[in-house]
């Protein structure tokens, strides 16, 4: 899931202001989950050293982080406190869902409710994601992972997720930042605010990746 973040951002963030409550709720939850997951990733230098043989442990690390469930995203925070970091097994099964959401949500905000009905085969572990408060919302979240043009890719996705640690840096920081920056053009305030919060979190996480080149001062451009 982590490597797909740059694709998920354009899919999820615009829906944070969706007029349909179900879609907005699902987008908010997804955003929060993704945010938490990335926030809880080990620093890049540490992840590079992780052996491929213990991918599961990396995921467990994420979930074991204490006090990480509180995400500073104010919108519906009370109802969307999934507390994924408190559910040891919820991280692995839920991660594979999100890549499919990218396609499901790409420019298809309207059909979103329809996608709620086409379910990818869920492992039993996912049903234990009872930490979600609203069962309806939980169902919608689980079900929005459908990829209509592809066969269920559960096991494939999980395998992909588990082996991502073989890459030196599974999380594409630059692509994610680019995706977030483009969100500033959104007409929705919620989307712009969410993008900024993401960037704040990412910068806190990897300040050394900050590009400190700035625009030349305007006076130098004046005639």
């Amino acid at each position: 899931m982590v490597p797909f973040t740059p694709r998920l951002i354009p899919a999820v963030l615009p829906n944070l202001a969706h007029h349909a409550p179900d879609i907005q709720s699902a987008a908010i939850k997804t955003n929060q989950l993704l945010f938490t997951t990335i926030q809880n990733l080990p620093p890049p230098s540490a992840s590079q050293g992780q052996p491929a043989a213990v991918p599961g442990r990396s995921l467990s690390l994420i979930t074991a982080s204490p006090g990480r469930s509180g995400i500073p995203i104010p919108t519906n925070n009370a109802t969307t406190n999934i507390g994924i970091s408190n559910s040891p097994q919820s991280s692995s099964p839920t991660m594979p869902r999100l890549p499919a959401m990218a396609d499901a949500a790409d420019g298809t905000a309207a059909p979103y409710p329809n996608k709620l009905r086409s379910i990818v085969e869920q492992p039993s572990g996912l049903s234990s994601k009872s930490s979600v408060d609203k069962e309806g919302a939980a169902t919608s979240y689980e079900q929005t992972s459908s990829r209509p043009s592809s066969p269920p890719l559960d096991s494939d996705r999980r395998a992909t997720t588990l082996v991502t640690n073989e890459e030196s840096e599974p999380f594409d920081y630059h692509a994610t930042v680019s995706a977030l920056t483009i969100r500033f053009l959104s007409e929705h305030e919620e989307t712009r605010v969410a993008a900024l919060k993401w960037l704040i979190m990412l910068h806190q996480k990897v300040p050394n990746k900050v590009d400190t080149s700035t625009v030349k001062d305007p006076s130098s451009r004046h005639v």
């Binding site: 920056t181 500033f184 712009r192 900024l196 590009d211 001062d217 006076s219």
Partner: protein, 118 residues
Amino acid sequence: MDDGTFPALLKNLSDPSEEVIKYDLQLLAQISTNSEESYFKSFMINLLGLFSTDKRLLETRGSLIIRQLCISLNTERIYRILAEILEKEEVRGLNIVYVKSLTIKHRIWRLPVIWFKN
């Protein structure tokens, strides 16, 4: 942030939403804290440039922006940089009319109020 982020962050200061402006300033302040002074100075120069080209922004959001910056960053540092920039006239089109007292965190700061001709 990556190339292109800085202009985008500057542009956000003209956002109609106060919340966007506040978070944008928080991010800019955060980056400034983690970067060399040249970044912050360049940011302030560009900010003043923005004020000079968008008088309405200055009037409607000017004090909010400066206030928020003072919350996130050291007020003295902001004032010092502003004074440096204005002294060297590194932003064209500025004209300081008068100095206004600004009370922040129980300290009175004399912050130049920037007024623009034309």
